[in-house]
């Protein structure tokens, strides 16, 4: 009953794949690139992006980077290797431990949430540095792996895992992503396992967020896509506290989804009244 009145967002996975593959190709074409780099964690999001990238430009033009830290779960790496093997794409392993240890020593390892988040942010941002460096060496664009559920809830590190040149799955809820991943042939183990940022041992998204993605996606879909009020969400049986919490997170994390505000002092300001598409005549590399 509740499920029917507050459905999960449905999509046609086949059409979504067609749209995203065309999007990746066209972004590369319009920027003058042919290759894609993806940070591969072993989770469903980055696996899906790797599958989409390979479908768009072929395995030889996709480089996936595995970037473990010393506490990263070995299962994550096993799953990442499963993807590499299935796709036959280029793959590199770069251990970020020696790169981040001096900074983590500075932060310390107190067992409180704020410290854990700060340490997690360092890992995410170091991976961004490696990704962007390898993208320059491989002559490729960085494909982001953030999904819509994360973006709305602000569950990501600014200039870390949120950094990318293109965001192929940025408009797909986690629950939709699973059906897209299934249609793409992503290994079932990867789709089924509990999502985790793997920033500290035992971390899971749903443990940290305090709710399942299915429940959160129902709420986000209602609040955002269908423009329902909190009251209407509650009337359909959604948990009032969770609705309020999600709505607050969406609002509080608006800053993460937008460019920083520029103090306007001139007649014409980029992003305010100097408005152009990113890809336009002259923007293509080598043009």
């Amino acid at each position: 009953m509740t499920v029917e009145r507050a459905p999960l967002p449905e999509i046609d996975a086949g059409q979504v794949i067609e749209i995203i593959v065309a999007f990746i190709r066209s972004q590369l074409e319009q920027t003058g690139f042919r290759r894609v780099v993806v940070g591969l964690s072993g989770g469903v999001d980055s696996a899906t992006v790797a599958y989409l990238a390979v479908r768009a430009v072929g395995a030889e033009n996709v480089l996936v980077l595995r970037m473990p830290y010393r506490t990263s779960s070995p299962e994550s790496e096993t799953d990442a290797l499963r993807v590499v093997e299935a796709l036959g794409c280029r793959s590199e392993r770069i251990d970020i431990t020696p790169m981040v240890e001096p900074m983590l020593t500075l932060i310390g390892d107190a067992d409180d949430l704020a410290t854990r988040v700060r340490r997690g942010n360092v890992l995410a941002r170091q991976r961004m540095i490696v990704l962007y460096d390898r993208s320059a060496a491989f002559d490729a664009l960085v494909a982001g792996t953030s999904n819509k559920s994360e973006a709305l809830l602000g569950y990501g590190t600014l200039y870390g895992d949120m950094a990318c040149a293109i965001a192929p799955i940025g408009d797909l809820y986690k629950s939709q992503l699973r059906s897209v991943a299934t249609a793409l042939g992503v290994p079932a183990e990867i789709i089924a396992k509990p999502p985790s940022a793997d920033l500290w041992p035992g971390q899971t998204d749903e443990g940290e967020l305090g709710a399942s993605y299915d429940d959160l996606d129902r709420i986000l879909f209602a609040l955002v896509d269908r423009r329902w009020t909190a009251e209407r969400c509650e009337a359909t049986g959604m948990d009032a506290k969770l609705v309020a919490w999600a709505a607050q997170r969406v609002a509080r994390n608006e800053f993460k989804r937008q460019q920083p505000p520029v103090a306007k002092v001139s007649l014409r300001t980029p992003g305010v009244d100097h408005l152009y598409p990113r890809r336009r005549p002259g923007s293509r590399r080598g043009s």
């Binding site: 449905e10 999509i11 059409q15 749209i19 065309a22 066209s26 152009y276 598409p277 890809r279 336009r280």
Partner: protein, 295 residues
């Protein structure tokens, strides 16, 4: 009499007018090869859609030599093509030119510029102020041009049908949203319902040409269609892929459809006008027009 129409559902390059003229020329040649008497291109076919501040850079006058040259590529053929028009007084409009042998024989400026949700057209272009059917000669007599969102306002195609159009031509740049959900179906299926309805109620043929390709994060869905004056589907293009589809409408069918179903002739235009005048007056807070004056 058969009248062959080609729908050139291609992917323009954003801001690259010369490239797009060249691409359009290629599609036009294919239309010629297939015996088309009219080729329809999408909205803003010569410029791309998400222009923002590129508008003044890509704008051209309706008598621009590039438009004329494009049309001369297909001798005797009617060509409907979307572009950014700069008027004499430097108004920038999302326009559709109707050309034959290098002559501009019709022009429509998009009347309804969507400026809501994902659309921001009214910010960069100015709206047109004219709804007409354009005279094109036999066998069609007149055709009604419109651009994408114009079709979401039933008054526009119905006025064109009343103005003598036997064919409605809609040039579109429709972006895909939520494919597979009910909202996504509403987007594509909604377009279908609307086209079917106009054909049926206007007893008029409908040619809809929607672009494909990607700009920024948008993917345009294509699915161009040609409908007979009874609402039957004559030709339909695939979703998302470039294609030229050609189909023939039969003007004899349209003639008999209008005899069997004299909806246009029976329309009470004077009554429509009187009630419109009343509604307009009420909305503006003016005294109601005296019906005696208008009867």
């Amino acid at each position: 009499m058969e009248y062959r129409i080609a729908l050139a559902q291609f992917a323009p390059r954003l801001g690259e007018v010369d490239d797009n003229v060249e691409l359009a020329r290629g599609w036009l040649r294919r239309g010629v090869a297939q015996g088309a008497q009219l080729t329809v291109f999408p909205e803003l076919a010569l410029t791309g859609y998400l222009l923002s501040d590129l508008v003044p850079e890509v704008a051209m006058r309706a008598d621009d030599a590039r438009l004329a040259a494009l049309s001369r590529e297909a001798p005797g053929m009617l060509v409907a093509v979307g572009f950014v028009e700069e008027t004499e007084e430097h108004r920038f409009c999302n326009s559709a030119a109707l050309l034959r042998d290098g002559e501009l024989i019709g022009l429509h400026r998009k009347v309804y510029l969507p400026t809501y949700g994902m659309f921001d057209e009214g910010r960069f272009t100015r709206r047109g102020n004219r709804i007409r059917a354009e005279a094109v000669g036999e066998p069609l007599g007149r055709i009604g041009l419109s651009i994408c969102e114009d079709f979401w306002h039933a008054s526009l195609p119905m006025l064109q049908a009343q103005d003598g159009a036997q064919l409605l031509v809609n040039l579109a740049a429709g972006p895909a949203r939520a494919p597979g959900s009910s909202a996504g179906l509403a987007a594509i299926a909604g377009w279908h319902k609307m086209q079917d309805t106009y054909a049926l109620l206007g007893t008029v043929a409908v040619a809809f040409c929607n672009r494909v390709g990607n700009e920024e994060g948008l993917t345009f869905w294509g699915g161009s269609r040609l409908l007979g004056a009874d609402g039957s589907t004559i030709a339909e293009a695939p979703l998302y892929e470039e294609a030229l589809v050609v189909g023939a409408i039969e003007t004899d069918d349209l003639r008999m459809q209008r005899y069997s179903l004299p909806l246009l002739a029976d329309e009470r235009l004077e009554l429509v006008r009187r009630e419109l005048d009343r509604i307009i007056a009420e909305r503006a807070g003016l005294p109601e027009p005296n019906p005696e004056d208008q009867a």
